[in-house]
């Protein structure tokens, strides 16, 4: 801990010195008598102040919670010194973690005693937060000296995003030959009816459609669509975001990504994650709960990293982008690089759908007439960008954060069906 003098010491000595010198110069002893208590206070305080011997430990009652929930932090202060210590304590924490009380706490700890403080940490937003260390300032009993430092360690507190439950998902165009929940276009063993055709050698007896056979006088069999899994790539755009006081588009994008990952993994799809922005991170496609944890862990680390680097599709390893997979791009469409990436992917034949996280809630119009016009022009520009993507066959679901994601996905499914018919997607 670093020791320093209280700012009052210089003032006390200055006033006492002025009184003493004035007494000497003017021959008025009462001025020196006035100065005596001030001088004595400073002298006694400086002489008696000893470096404190205080330690602290921090405990959290939980290390994981959902955003918006609280964890309890217990700080235990121990005074190993010979004199009473006045400890001003502020628990450090991530910017998006609201600690209560929000300001410093002042406690006195008797020599040889311990004191326990209980604070609460509210996770304002998802993320990998940290609690601690404790920033302390310890004063001597007269408040003449102060020692500042950090005590205790840093503890991790992970806040998981609150997810919406999704019933409707974007239906992938192609599936994989693994058992899943999507009705495949191919024909094989399944439940969904596909067609009726004449019996061919190799067909099984239970496939025979007796009604059609009786009507036509020859053996006919029923063909079905099997239920397959598909590959889904969640592409999170972290080039840029719109951020207001309460939150930003990245906050909503991560919640949407977590909800989509859970829903697709529950349908036995393989899900991959690509964090595409100033920095590039990815998770290769995999199934199951373990993949869900990996994805959510990776999402907690998402942040906007400012960069001028131009990233292209080639930056992403091929094994992360299965050729027949569905790419769900969750983006606020604020950066030209992400628009280029989407167009590139589409031109390479990828099945791309965009979930546009609307930035308008976090970006009110400016105050001047010119800025207000620019804001309206911005809306029109974004509609033109959407139209540009749709002309390439990329469905765009516009999602306002306070609305449910499901209806937006329904809308994009309708677009995809009509686009398949008209554009041969």
């Amino acid at each position: 801990m670093t020791g320093s003098l209280s700012p009052r010491v210089a003032g006390l000595l200055a006033v006492a010195g002025a009184g003493a010198v004035a007494a000497l110069a003017s021959g008025r002893p009462e001025l020196a008598v006035l100065a005596a208590p001030l001088l004595l206070f400073a002298g006694v305080g400086l002489a008696l102040a000893q470096r404190p011997r205080v330690s602290a430990s921090i405990e959290l009652d939980r290390d994981r919670l959902l955003e918006g929930e609280r964890a309890r932090a217990t700080v235990t202060l121990a005074n190993h010194g010979a004199s009473r210590a006045e400890v001003e304590l502020l628990l450090a924490g991530s910017a998006l973690l609201a600690l209560e009380p929000p300001g410093p706490v002042l406690v006195g700890v008797a020599p040889g005693a311990t004191t326990t403080l209980e604070l609460t940490a509210l996770a304002r937003r998802w993320g990998a937060h940290s609690v601690g260390p404790a920033l302390v300032r310890v004063r001597d009993p007269l408040g003449i000296r102060a020692w500042s430092g950090q005590l205790g360690g840093r503890l991790a507190l992970r806040a998981f995003p609150r997810e919406q439950r999704l019933r409707e998902l974007v239906a992938p165009l192609a599936t994989q030959p693994f058992l899943g929940s999507h009705v495949a276009r191919v024909r094989g063993e399944g439940i969904e009816f596909a067609d009726v055709r004449p019996f061919a050698p190799g067909d099984r007896a239970r496939q025979v459609n007796w009604r059609a056979t009786a009507r036509r006088g020859a053996l006919y069999v029923t063909e079905r669509h099997p239920e397959h899994a598909s590959d889904v790539v969640l592409l999170l755009d972290t080039f840029a975001e719109a951020r207001g006081g309460a939150g930003g588009t990245l906050d909503a994008a991560v919640r949407a990504a977590a909800a989509l990952a859970r829903a697709h993994l529950a349908r036995r799809d393989r899900v991959a994650l690509v964090d595409f922005g100033g920095t590039l991170h990815w998770l290769e496609p995999a199934f199951g709960t373990a993949q869900l944890y990996r994805i959510v862990d990776a999402l907690l680390a998402s942040e906007i990293a400012f960069s001028y680097a131009w990233r292209a599709v080639e930056s992403i390893p091929r094994r992360v982008l299965p050729p027949t997979g569905l790419i769900l791009a969750i983006t606020p469409l604020l950066d030209e690089r992400s628009l280029r990436l989407l167009a590139d992917l589409r031109r390479r034949g990828a099945d791309v759908t965009v979930i546009e996280v609307s930035p308008f809630a976090h970006t009110p119009p400016g105050r001047t007439e010119s800025d207000a016009v620019a804001h309206r022009l911005w809306r029109l520009q974004r509609e033109a960008i959407r139209a540009r993507l749709q002309s390439l066959g990329i469905g765009v679901a516009v999602w306002e954060e306070d609305a449910m994601l499901g209806p937006a996905l329904e809308g994009v499914n309708r677009f995809r069906r009509s686009a398949r018919r008209s554009l041969r997607v």
Partner: protein, 177 residues
């Protein structure tokens, strides 16, 4: 004489009002400097009295220390959101005890001065020497950085037992192919 007393009284009130304003400014600006200027101003007001100055000076000096302590304490506590039990009492007791001690020391000094001869070069030299010694010693104390043994590290911060249910639910009916 009456006019002089009236003028002195008006000056005293004006100076007191200025001192209060300076203390308020110091509290708002979180700076001790205006507080100390106010204390000096209040100290100088004693000179407006023509009688009992030496008798009142010890208690008056103790009172100035109390004002200084209260004002600087309010500056220290400006951002604090929670106060532990006994914090205010302990500090007030320490400051009060020191003020009382200072007032006693002042009273002793006043007694000594009462019996002292008229102003002379020798007395001035003694006074100057006392100031040099006192402020020299206090200045050294203020700049002291003694090598003290470091505080013990204390118990490490702990993670909770991972018994609480995870907020990420398991997927239903998972089947890996």
């Amino acid at each position: 004489m009456a006019t002089d007393a009236h003028a002195a009284s008006a000056l005293a009130w004006a100076a007191t009002a200025l001192a209060v304003l300076l203390v308020a400014v110091g509290a708002l600006a979180r700076s001790a400097a205006p507080v100390h200027v106010a204390v000096a101003l209040l100290g100088a007001l004693l000179l407006l009295r023509h009688d009992l100055r030496l008798l009142l000076a010890p208690a008056y000096g103790g009172g100035l220390l109390v004002i200084e302590e209260l004002a600087t304490r309010s500056i220290e506590l400006a951002g604090v959101r929670m106060l532990g039990r006994g914090v205010m009492g302990a500090r007030a007791a320490a400051a009060g005890a020191t003020a009382a001690l200072g007032a006693c020391a002042g009273a002793l000094a006043a007694l000594a001065v009462t019996g002292a001869p008229e102003r002379s070069l020798a007395l001035t030299a003694v006074g100057a020497a006392a100031i040099v010694v006192a402020f020299g010693a206090i200045g050294r104390l203020g700049r002291r950085t003694r090598a003290e043994p470091p505080a013990p590290a204390g118990p490490p911060s702990v993670h909770p037992q991972r018994a609480a249910a995870l907020p990420v639910e398991e997927l239903p009916n998972e089947r890996v192919v």
